[in-house]
Every structure is written in C-alpha cells, then in structure tokens.
C-alpha cells in the first residue's frame, strides 16, 4: 500500500502544479489590463499619446507638421463640443496651446469624461501632451460654456523614426462621454486621481 500512497502523492503534486498554472493564467488575464495600458502608453500602440512624465521639450527644429483637431460627443451627452481652431502648423518640439470649447445644451448640470486618441498610430508616441483634459470629469451647468486647453508638442525624435518620419499631418481626437452618476458631487476631481482609481480595477 505504500506504493499506492506514493503514487497518490505524485498525482496530487501534479494536480497542484496544474491548478496553479490555471490560476496563474487567470491572474495573467487580469494583469493584462494594466500591462496593456502601460504597453500602449509606452509604444503609442492604438494611437495612445504620451501624457505621463511629459516634460517641456528641449530642442525645437525647423521641420513643421500640421496638427488637426477632432471633437466628438456621445449622443447620450447633450453637449456641443468643438475645437476653437481646426488645425495648427507647428514646429517639432514647439510647445503649443490650443483650446476646445464645450457647451451644455441641456437644462440640467451634466458631467462628461473625454477619451482621446492620436492618428496615425505611428505618430502617437511622439505626441506629448503636457497639460490636457484627458479623463478629467467635467461638470457643466445648464447652458454653461467652458474653454478646455491642451498644451502639447510633437517630439523632434519623430524625424528619426523610419515608420513615422514621413507623417506630415497628425490628428488629435477627443470624444466626450456622459459620466455615470451625474448627481455625484465630486465632479472636476483631478484627472490623475480618476485614472489611478480606474487602474485599481485591473
């Protein structure tokens, strides 16, 4: 019977290892959420522009690119949302301040959150936003109009990237969504805090 006990121990050991592998894969699938986000931010994958640890540019070159601005609003949010200027010509490395305006067309206060994206994808990692309203909850009173600034520059390193150096037009796109739970009082909380709270979900 000791033979059988030894076999049972071996079987149990194998099973424990295999259960651990299965559990580890579940863990990995959840870990992929922050990993995927970090990967997108590090590489600009999927048109994710750089927003974290962005410092002022050090060099400015003479090469120019056109930056276009696009604005969308989810139909559930009755806002008017437009860029003040359709596009700007900027030099690489030049800090530029542009504005969007948002107007609440309804008769009650509404909270929205914007997501953003840069196209083409290859340019995203060179599009650095020093200051923006990305992921910040914005509450607008009925009829209120606000100006939303974006301070950005295009990294001169784009001229050295074989995949991105031919790009002459970059589009920055924002989409405003209605935030669930409009009646919350914590509107206008810092975007960074909102983001890290979401990161905690993963």
């Amino acid at each position: 019977m000791s033979d059988k006990a030894g076999r049972d121990r071996k079987k149990a050991r194998s099973a424990v290892v295999l259960f651990a592998i299965a559990g580890g894969m579940v863990g990995l699938s959840f870990a992929s959420v922050p990993l995927y986000r970090a990967f997108c931010q590090a590489t600009g994958y999927g048109g994710t522009p750089r927003t974290e640890n962005v410092t002022a540019p050090t060099t400015i070159t003479d090469r120019r690119v056109t930056v276009q601005f696009d604005a969308n609003v989810n139909p559930e949010l009755p806002w008017r949302f437009k860029p003040v200027q359709r596009s700007v010509d900027v030099r690489l490395g030049e800090e530029t301040l542009i504005h969007y305006t948002a107007t609440n067309l309804s008769d009650r206060p509404l909270t929205g959150t914007a997501t953003f994206n840069v196209s083409p994808d290859a340019a995203a990692q060179y599009f650095s936003k020093i200051q923006c309203f990305c992921f910040t909850e914005q509450t607008l009173a009925p009829g209120q109009e606000v100006s939303m600034p974006v301070l950005f520059y295009v990294d001169p390193a784009i001229a050295a990237d074989a995949d991105a150096r031919d790009i002459s037009t970059i589009t920055l796109s924002y989409t405003f969504y209605r935030t669930n739970g409009d009646d919350k009082n914590n509107a206008n909380s810092a975007g960074v805090a909102a983001r890290s709270a979401r990161g905690g979900n993963g």
Partner: protein, 548 residues
Amino acid sequence: MAYATTAGHGEHDDHHPTGWRRWIYSTNHKDIGTMYIILSLVAALIGGVMSWMIRLELAEPGIQFFDNTQFYNVLVTAHGFLMVFFVVMPAMIGGFGNWFVPLMIGAPDMAFPRMNNISFWLTAAGLTLLVSSAFVGEGPGTGWTVYPPLSSIAYHPGAAVDFGILALHLAGAGSILGAINLIVTVFNMRAPGMTLHRMPLFVWAILVTAFLLLLALPVLAGALTMLLTDRNFGTSFYAVSGGGDPLLWQHLFWFFGHPEVYIIILPAFGIISQIISTFSKKPVFGYLGMAYAMCAIGFVGFIVWAHHMYTSGIGTNARAYFTVATMIIAVPTGIKIFSWLATMWGGSIDFKAPMMFALGFLWLFVIGGVTGVVLANAGIDFVMHDTYYVVAHFHYVMAIAAIFAMFGAYYYWIGKMSGRQYSERLAQIQFWIFFIGVNVLFFPQHFLGLGGMPRRIPDYPDAFAGWNMVSSVGAAITMVGTLMFYYIIWHTFRYGKTAEANPWGEGATTLEWTVPSPAPFHTHEELPVIGAGDHGHGPLHGGVQPAE
C-alpha cells in the same frame, strides 16, 4: 510478450452501481465518456437544426423567415457556441479522451474519478444555461466572439448575454478540470514500459490538447469575468467611455480563441493517426515527428492570435509579424499531412468506414488549410475579412474536418464501446451522403466570399442568389447524412453484430483492442507491461499482444 502482472490496484472493488446512480454518480471513465458522447449527440442535433434554419433563410435573397433579425443573430451565436463547446470538445476530449486514454496507456481509470464526474456535470449545466440563454430577453446576438461594444449592456440590455457568459464559465471550468485530470493520468498512470515516446498518437494529441485547455481557458474565464463586471457592476475594462479599450477584449478573446481552434482539431489529428495506421496495417510514418509536430502546433497556436484582428487597427509591424507566424503553422501541419500520406503509401489499405472518414478528413483539412494560408496574409485578409470566404475556410478546416474525425472515431470504436459492430453498408452510404453534402454546402461559400458576401447577415443582394441556393441544397443533403448517422446508431444497438475484441485485425495494435468488447466496467486492473521493443502504436514495432 504476454502480460506481466503488477500488483497494486486492488483498491477497485467489484461494486457495480446500477440504475440512475450508475450515471449520475459515475466515477467510471467509460460511463462518463459515454455520457459526454451522448451530450454531444444531443447538442449536435440542436446546433445542426440551427444551422439548417440559417441555410433555409439564406436559400433565397430577401427575408423569408426571420422578421426578427435579432433571432437570426441568436441562432448564429448559439450554433457557434454549441458546436465548439458542447459538440466537438465533449465528444473528442470528454468522450473519446475519457474512454480511450486510460485504455490506451494501460491505466485502470482516470487519475481523479470524482473530478471526472464534476467535469461532466459542469459541462452539462453549461449546456443547459446556454440553451436557455436563447429564451431570455432578446437572446445573445453577439456572435460567438462576443465583441464589445455589441455585447455591452448598451446593446444587449437583457440578461441573455450574462447567461451565455456564465454558461461558458461553467463549461470552461469543467474543461479545465478535465484537462488537469487527463494530464495527471497521462503523466502518472501509464503502465510499466509505456514511456511517453511509446504512447499512441491519440494519447499524445489529447495530452497536448489538455495543455492548451489549461493555458487558454483561464484567459477566457478572466476576459468573460471582466465583460460580466463591465455589464453589471460599472467597471470599464472594455468601455471606452471609462478609459477601457474594446481591443483588449479582442486580444484576450483570441489569445484563447486561436488555441481553441487547435483544441478542436488536435484530438482529430490523433484519431486520424490511429485510424490510418490501423487500416493501412502499418505503423504511423514518422511517429516522433508526428508527436512533436502536435507540440509545435500547440506552441505556435499561442503566438498567432492577432491574425483574427488584422482589420481592427493593429499596426503594420504587428500585421507583418502575425502573417509570418501564422504561415509557420503550415510547416508542422504539412509534416502531419505528408506523414499520413506516407503511412498509407505501400500499405494494404482496407477502405472501411473509419478509413473513408479519415480520407475525407484529409481532403477537407487540406482545402481548409490552403484557404487558411491565403487568409493568413494581412493584405488579402483586408478584402476577405468577415466574408463567406472565412466561413468556408473555418468550416472546412476545423468544423467539418473535426466532425469527420468524430464520425471516423465513432465507427472505429463503437464495437469496443457498445459491444456491437455498425453496419458497414449503411456507414459507407452515410459517408458518401455526408461527404457530398458538406462539399456542396461549403465549397460555393468560397465564391460567395470572394464576391464580397458578408457573414452573419440574413439577407444578401440578388447577385449572390445562385451559389447560396447551391449551398442550401448542400445543407439539405448534409441533413440527410446527419440524421442517417443517428439512425445508424439506433441500428447498431438494435441489429448490430457482436463485436470481437479486435474487429480490425493486425493493423489495430493499441491496448484497447486487447480487452474484450464491450470493454468491461473495470479494465487493466492487472497492469499490462510493455516491453523494451514494443510500441503501443504499430505492429512493426512489436505491438502489444493480447493476454493468453
């Protein structure tokens, strides 16, 4: 090389539970395998009826039957889920895997008989939940890929998608437990002398499949859980409005979904190897190459997932990588095809029904494989994506090919499982009806796809009418072939001749043919010993001789 006896399995008593307890409480690998096969036969009929309804609608342009087009979407979704999770997987892995892995490696049962029981009942509960999801609210009309935002609460507000998610959770948990059981069995319970490199290729196939299940299904479980919380608890893993990304779902789903394709087809590879070797009366050509080709396919299967996502906005470099990686799969797959051909080469081939289905498998799998190489090209895929060309491709390469392997396996092993042999003449007729049916059904869909007909839509322009009618006629022929199979099962049990222990003669050399037919409730209680010169897989290597 007669049996030597190894002591140590006296723990099995001769207690035979009877009545409903035998089945509900079963811990016997043969009974559980039988229940899996019955489950898959039931699910196949449901999934089959759904596909015939789909082809009936598509026979002519315009909307004939589905004024409620969401119901059409529900049928397409349920057909996919049923066939993948509740027909092919239960039959191949739970059914034939349970039945024949212990028999082939000389083990008395699975490593964890009670876990085997819960695996089956989890799968059965999943099937119940999935079928009932179609009757909840508007039904899950998401397609089997369940992409958000279509599957999000905004577009599927009812509980149907949640039912579907929980159905997959249950079936997935059952499959993970089953996979662990199979791996532990193969690693720890082989008879003395049955080394890994002497295992029959069917056991190798199930072993590799079990590892794929173990690594892929937890990822699906995680992704589904995130979808569930997105839908019900306000998280935003996939919801753009909260900073999530629907592409993340596609990455996670296909990280599971592509290995899933191999989970379906690898056991078929194993079955086909056994059948071709048996009826060519030769050992499989290039045994080790065949075994490691399956390992290679399993490994590469995990690093090609984004070829399902070429048009979803992934970068040029990513598309280039996934194109190359995908094409590499053709190498180990080619090794298998040519090894099967080399196995038949010079053999004294016996064209019994299992062999016919194996040959049919080769035909279907090669056609589907060739269109797969076409679709692997990211540039071409931009044109073909979500057209009927893709539908034709995957039905050839995994759906119908897997069904042919299953039919082959039924005819090959039914004598061993039931003790009665099928009618060869009926089986041959069924083969030809089914073979002609599926080719008439799916081959024209290549033309429809090249013409640009999109999948998952119940209507189409008049220009596509001709080949759609041909395809639907093919579906009708396939239906006859399918129903005839159910008749043959009844006929076998009613009129089948008593099967011998080994009805296939010298070509059948694996251990399951050394036990009587039907296989007794307990087998290999005295462990067979496989000698140094033996292989469990071919007569030229000595094979295993029956006990005196």
